[in-house]
Symmetry: C2
Subunit: 444 residues, 2 copies
């Protein structure tokens, strides 16, 4: 374990108790466990025991970034779905087939390998906590492995190997769509029954949860999960105080099918099933093709935007400003992991709004600033979504999970001190990140 | 000057005479001037005099990237326009005011400094040739400097200092809008008359053009240039065989004002003025708010997309696939230089189409591949736009301007060999670029 020590930097996004902000020349003191025990300013209180967080230049430090939505194994199809295949639609659904082919190839060892590589790339990009929306459960014919959570354990082992924190969002998947049984490629995703799924969750809750691992529930989507199962999952999650994630209105077809089956939108079905009853315990992933009424239903929940994936798949752009105005908590995900750069995801969330609305400065905080809203989405918003109320901020009593940015990176050079955060978020990328800490330990 | 030598790499985007493609294990031989004299394959013709282009790993090599639209001094406002200012619109026009404030502060020395820093950042990102759309000409009150091209020379000196090739697209700017004289902040942009402008161009043509510098004409926009002046500029450009660039339909307001003044679209006005008569000698920058008829008028010209700037300013997304289908040549620009990454610009051009059209694989070549279209836009397309027919490709008789990509960069790792280009263009960024050559000389 680490020793007690104190770090300093040119600036840190610190929360002294009344909300986070950039503090110049601060220090943070850590205990042996890597938790922050005190914070202060190096001036006018000079101290000679401070270790600079970046010894090659000036450091600007953010909390460790939180990636609220990932399918790690999809890293394996990066660059492999960008050519027309004869007979296959040039659409989301054609891409899905390529992704299913990859899913079909994986065994526990290869899943571990691709997940570890993916989480390693995340860590290098400043991500210290990831929500893995995990739906690859069983053998190719749908039979469980001897250990029914074998593949979930492989994901957790990969996270442990890399050092990132994990919320395993274990998915329930029952059907291809309304009255359509799972397709052959989808059998691996499906449990024999809802009871079998919840029994797996019981197993994960009792065996997997640790200082760096949480478990959440993930009814895949209203397409793949019948409404009675949604209600049962809502009850189980409430009974065990678990977060719930679901894909919501990523593609227009999902909405059309839902309307035909249920006479309402996906969000309305989730609400009817009770999944939106507990404030800030549900995360709607995507929530792109939503009505104002849908967005009002999500006003006390999280919405996870995944802009690089949503662009790649032609999904569309989320109404982030409207959701923010209604009170929803925004968070971000790398989703397909074609691109792993939460700074870009944050920027593109704002840029999508600018393109949709034809104006600038769409996601504003109370002072009319954009960057703090984006920092929130990639830190506290994600942490709340994944059930880690203590993460996503640097404050006394929280673990020192931190992302160190080189203030002299080409993208930030010559930017005035009071606009470094703006430049990083609105004009930068994760390429400026030089060091990453988890629980006080330098992993990058 | 350099010696004769021969380079090799794992792969290069080479043109053996019938169009560019990835060639594996190639070599290129250079003469003392840095021009390519021969190309071939290292296997089955092994030779022992080959110098690897990247000695730390496997290199994938593109032609030097061509940035067809830049306002270098705007690098100075990076990160400084991302907060609401009371009383100022949260729009393109509010941003323009901040940009004008920056323009008003610059003197020849400070313009040189910010331009040099900006071009240096471009070079680091693999850009070896830039089209600088230069409209900052005179003293603050509009009086010419003793040397009327003083600021143009400062831009050229910055390019020479960094080592990038330059097309100085010298702008003509006459008015704020129809029947509105220039505003105080715009006086620096305005020549006393069209004759005074063309006299400046005469000066640039005779004094500035060299092996690494070209000059082009840039009637700023139909907003800022009356129609008779557009026609005169078209004639001058034809007489002297110069390329012409103009901002076209970036914002809806420009179209509305043009309709009121001329009864037609900006593109139709440019066509009527004769600016579209010479094939591939005109570049419409942005061309976002265009009709199918406008895009047909541009079918034998260039369209320069600047996706990161166009998102930042809430401009919108260009109909790239439709333009490509009609025969237009696409190219890319970093424009405001808030972000300098031509790989991202290329990706976002395709992603904008996916978001606009709700499908994938929008910009396809004859084989249904996306990446080669994007490579073309950031190499040959830009070179054609800027009047450098010999740039943008690696072929016998062309200068060895090259961008060396680290194939083991995190973003490309584990991607199959035959999909490295796809991953770089659709999932990567300029962060993977490790070395840059201009005329055979390693500058990065």
């Amino acid at each position: 374990m680490n020793q007690r020590r104190a770090f300093t930097a040119e600036a840190m996004w610190l929360d002294p108790g009344d909300g986070p902000r950039w503090m110049r020349r601060p220090w943070v003191e850590l205990d042996e466990a890597g938790d922050i025990t005190a914070i202060g300013r190096a001036a006018p209180e000079p101290r000679d025991d401070l270790v600079p967080l970046y010894d090659l230049g000036a450091a600007w430090v953010l909390p460790g970034l939180v990636n609220a939505h990932s399918h790690a194994f999809q890293r394996g199809v990066r660059g492999r779905t960008e050519r027309m295949v004869p007979g296959v639609q040039s659409s989301f659904w054609g891409w899905r087939q390529a992704m299913y082919d990859e899913a079909g190839r994986l065994e526990p060892e290869t899943l571990f390998d691709v997940t570890r590589a993916c989480f390693h790339e995340m860590l290098r990009g400043g991500i210290t906590c990831v929500g893995e929306f995990h739906y690859l459960h069983h053998q190719h014919d749908g039979q469980p492995y001897d250990q029914p959570n074998e593949l979930g354990y492989a994901v957790a082992a990969a996270a442990a190997d890399v050092g990132v924190r994990l919320t395993l969002l274990d998915a329930y998947y029952a059907r291809s769509s309304h009255e359509q049984p799972p397709r052959a490629e989808q059998r691996r995703f499906c449990d024999a029954s809802l009871d079998a799924y919840l029994a797996r969750i019981d197993g994960l809750r009792t065996s997997l949860v640790s200082e760096r691992v949480r478990v959440g529930l993930a009814p895949h989507s209203v397409r793949a999960v019948p409404k009675p199962a949604l209600a049962t999952i809502a009850e189980y999650a409430a009974d065990h105080d678990l977060v719930v994630h679901a894909h919501v209105s990523e593609q227009p077809r999902e909405n059309e099918e839902c309307l035909a089956e249920h006479g309402g939108s996906p969000t309305s079905v989730l609400a009817d099933a009770g999944l939106l009853d507990r404030p800030r315990r549900f995360t709607a992933v995507h929530a792109i093709h939503t009505t104002p009424a849908d967005r009002e239903r999500l006003a006390s929940q999280h919405v996870c935007a995944c802009p690089t994936t949503e662009a790649n798949l032609g999904d569309g752009m989320v109404a982030g400003a409207d959701l923010l105005a209604r009170g929803a908590t925004l968070c971000l995900g790398s989703d397909s992991n074609s691109i792993i750069d939460l700074v870009q995801e944050a920027r593109l969330l704002e840029m999508g709004e600018r393109l949709r609305l034809g104006r600038r400065l769409c996601l504003q905080d109370a002072y009319g600033h954009v960057a703090p809203v984006l920092v929130d989405a990639m830190t506290r918003g994600g942490a709340s979504s994944l059930g880690w109320p203590n993460l996503g901020r640097l404050a006394v009593g929280t673990p020192f999970d931190a992302t160190v940015v080189d203030r002299e990176h080409l993208t930030l050079r010559d930017v005035p001190d009071d606009r470094v955060g703006d430049a990083l978020l609105l004009a930068g990328s994760s390429a400026a990140i030089v060091h990453v800490y988890v629980a006080g330990e330098q992993l990058v």
